[in-house]
């Protein structure tokens, strides 16, 4: 496996020639994608383009038929399970907000905190001062300080999305995969979420899938357009928006 130019920094995520088929249907078709360390990338594309499937492959939920998926240059993700990949430092936000509804906001964050994962150590774990402090920071960042004792199931849709992002951050991942974070959000919430992601991107690499063009514009990063399981175009948003094929299959619908 040869990964680009040896003098360049190792890509945090390297996807090459990945194909995934479901009963003969190619959800991903020879997909290739390279994310540099510290980069934020927006992924757009019509429904069924394979965006979520791509995240499934990176996080170990779906095994590719063929292709390479490497993290930090040399860790082969296709051999690892979800838990191992998460522990390596890849966090994932689902398309549908998924939090632990019958836990409090605080407990949701506590469970997400990086560190203890083995059943026996978890059984005897006590919240440390450091953990408490980190939880407080995350509550502050996601504007949930007031709601820290509420059950996550009682939060509004937007708050759940934010809590889930907070939980992702608690995992201290090097790479965040964020699937449609602003679906169902108000305009104000959408703008705030863009700001939050930009803030997060100061310390971590981010891959964000989104349909909302205002949001993608607000991120101001390189865009990859997926179509029928492979990359249709890649580049700055205005350049991609001017691309005829992109207009045809996606933007001009």
């Amino acid at each position: 496996m040869q990964i680009g130019d040896t003098s360049a920094p190792k890509p945090i995520l390297y996807v090459d020639g990945v194909t995934v088929t479901f009963d003969g249907f190619r959800a991903l078709n020879d997909l290739s994608l390279v994310i540099a360390p510290g980069e934020m990338r927006a992924i757009i594309g019509p429904n069924g383009a394979g965006k979520t499937t791509m995240m499934d492959v990176i996080t170990g939920k779906t095994r590719p038929d063929v292709g390479t998926v490497a993290f930090n240059g040399d860790v082969d993700l296709t051999k690892l399970d979800e838990a191992a990949i998460a522990q390596l430092g890849i966090g994932r936000k689902f398309q549908k907000p998924t939090v632990f509804e019958s836990h409090t906001v605080r407990d949701n964050l506590q469970l997400a905190l990086a560190g203890l994962r083995k059943p026996f150590t978890v059984l005897f774990a006590k919240e440390t001062a450091k953990e408490r402090q980190r939880i407080d920071e995350l509550l502050e960042l996601t504007k949930l300080t007031e709601s820290h004792g509420r059950l996550a199931g009682d939060l509004s849709h937007g708050q759940k999305q934010w809590l889930e992002i907070g939980m992702l951050l608690a995992q201290e991942p090097a790479l965040l995969l964020v699937d449609e974070p602003v679906a169902g959000m108000t305009d104000a919430e959408t703008a705030e979420t863009a700001e939050l992601l930009v803030e997060i991107n100061k310390t971590r690499s981010v891959v964000v899938v989104e349909h909302d063009m205002t949001f993608v514009k607000a991120l101001g990063v390189k865009v990859t357009v997926l179509h029928e399981g492979s990359v249709l175009a890649e580049g700055p948003l205005d350049q991609v928006q001017a691309n005829e094929r992109v207009i045809e299959v996606y933007l001009g619908r």
Binding site: T59, K61, D81, E82, A83, A84, A86, Q87, G91, R92, F94, T98, V99, F100, E101, S102, H103, D107, Q110, L111, A112, L116, R117, K118, P119, V122, L123, F124, A125, M167, Q171
Partner: protein
């Protein structure tokens, strides 16, 4: 201090343990220390009946741990209960010694009847009480571990998992029916004489077994309470609420499920072991799929995911069953089915979740009727 940490603000736990203690002491004293013709006397048959209910309560608790907290709906916990019961039964059989009908010093009657010449290897050691007690925990534990390992690793969940747990208990039912398995076939194990050298038929022993069941229930309850309130317990609830979220957070969900499932099976085995000397028999009927389903209904009726509810549900439903089968035995299954539908539709939180709500409603209505201004609602123990 320790008490405070265990219970937190939960008054329900204290109430439950206090009630259990009071009932146990009262029943014991009123059976042993009052004359049989006294109005206060608790007859021995009642002691045994209550002891049986307590064993069912432990079984219900074990089901609640996996169903209520991890979302694993096991319809095969009766198998673990029965295996624990058989392990105890084997010890009790060996305690009979030469007092069997055929007078063989070692072989139980059914083996003599089958013309067996020596004890099968898996009966060895069961004359030792400690060994037998280890087996009470180990046999259901190992079965659950192996079963759970295979099922959870293959990510079998939901209805499919429930179905294979039913298949497991049904397969054991068929196996234990066979005479050549060496567990007494159809008739099972019975005609027990003593336990640890004490005659099982005495009032003192009956009360002792009843008290042991109460103690086991209390200990299992405290263990479950501690586990479900630890961070481990929070992970279990997380698995129940959003399994894949938990996985993508880096928790290896299979391990958590397996630990809970195995522990739960051991608890069910202990319940079965306490049950057998009190009812005086263990036979393959205990593996019947229907038994496991009934036990799940107890938990639903009492309140899933509340621990106390499981125990309360087991006791209430079985009390109902005792009364009902005395009057209309053919209709019991319909009554049970009806109860399950009623609870699922109208009281999804079960008795323990619904009764405090009703009390609150009645109280506030009373307050309104009395013309008082609305008071802030009194804090009420959360039915987790």
């Amino acid at each position: 201090m320790i008490m405070k940490r265990l219970f937190g603000s939960d008054a329900m736990a204290l109430w439950f343990l206090a009630c259990l203690l009071v009932v146990t002491v009262l029943v014991g004293v009123l059976n042993l220390a009052t004359p049989a013709d006294s109005a206060l006397h608790v007859p021995t048959y009642l002691v045994a009946l209550l002891g049986k209910y307590l064993c069912y309560a432990i079984l219900a608790l074990s089901i609640d741990l996996v169903w209520g907290y991890v979302g694993i709906l096991s319809l095969g916990h009766g198998a673990f209960f029965a295996l624990g019961g058989y392990a105890m039964g084997m010890y009790l059989m060996r305690q009979i010694g030469p007092r069997g009908v055929y007078g063989d010093p070692v072989l139980p009657d059914f083996m003599v009847f089958l013309n067996w010449k020596e004890l099968p290897w898996y009966w060895l050691g069961f004359d030792n009480f400690l060994f037998a007690m280890v087996m009470v925990a180990l046999v259901p534990g190992i079965l659950a571990f192996v079963f759970g390992y295979l099922a959870f690793r293959s990510r079998v969940t939901g209805v499919y998992l429930s179905i294979i747990t039913q298949a497991m208990t049904y397969a054991l039912l068929l196996a234990f029916f066979r005479n050549d398995m060496g567990f007494g076939g159809n008739n099972g194990l019975t005609d027990f004489k003593d336990l640890l050298g004490f005659n099982l038929q005495t009032d003192g022993m009956r009360v002792a077994l009843f008290a042991a069941s109460a103690l086991a229930l209390a200990l299992c309850y405290l263990l479950c309470l501690w586990i479900t309130r630890s961070r481990f317990g929070k992970v279990l609830i997380a698995v129940r609420d959003a399994e894949s979220r938990t996985r993508f957070m880096g928790y290896r969900v299979e391990g958590y499920k397996l630990a809970a499932f195995t522990l739960s099976a051991v608890m069910a085995g202990v319940a079965g072991a306490l049950y057998v000397p009190q009812v005086g028999i263990i036979n393959p009927g205990e593996f019947a799929p229907q038994n496991s389903i009934e036990a799940v209904v107890w938990v639903a009726v009492g309140g899933r995911g509340t621990l106390v509810g499981a125990a309360v549900g087991a006791i209430v439903v079985n009390f109902g069953k005792t009364v009902f089968t005395g009057v209309l035995p053919e209709l019991w299954l319909f009554a049970l089915g009806g109860l399950f539908v009623f609870v699922t539709l109208l009281m999804p939180k079960g008795i323990v979740g619904t009764v405090p709500q009703l009390l609150d409603m009645m109280r506030s209505r009373k307050a309104q009727n009395a013309g008082e201004t609305a008071k802030p609602e009194a804090p009420r123990p959360a039915a987790e």
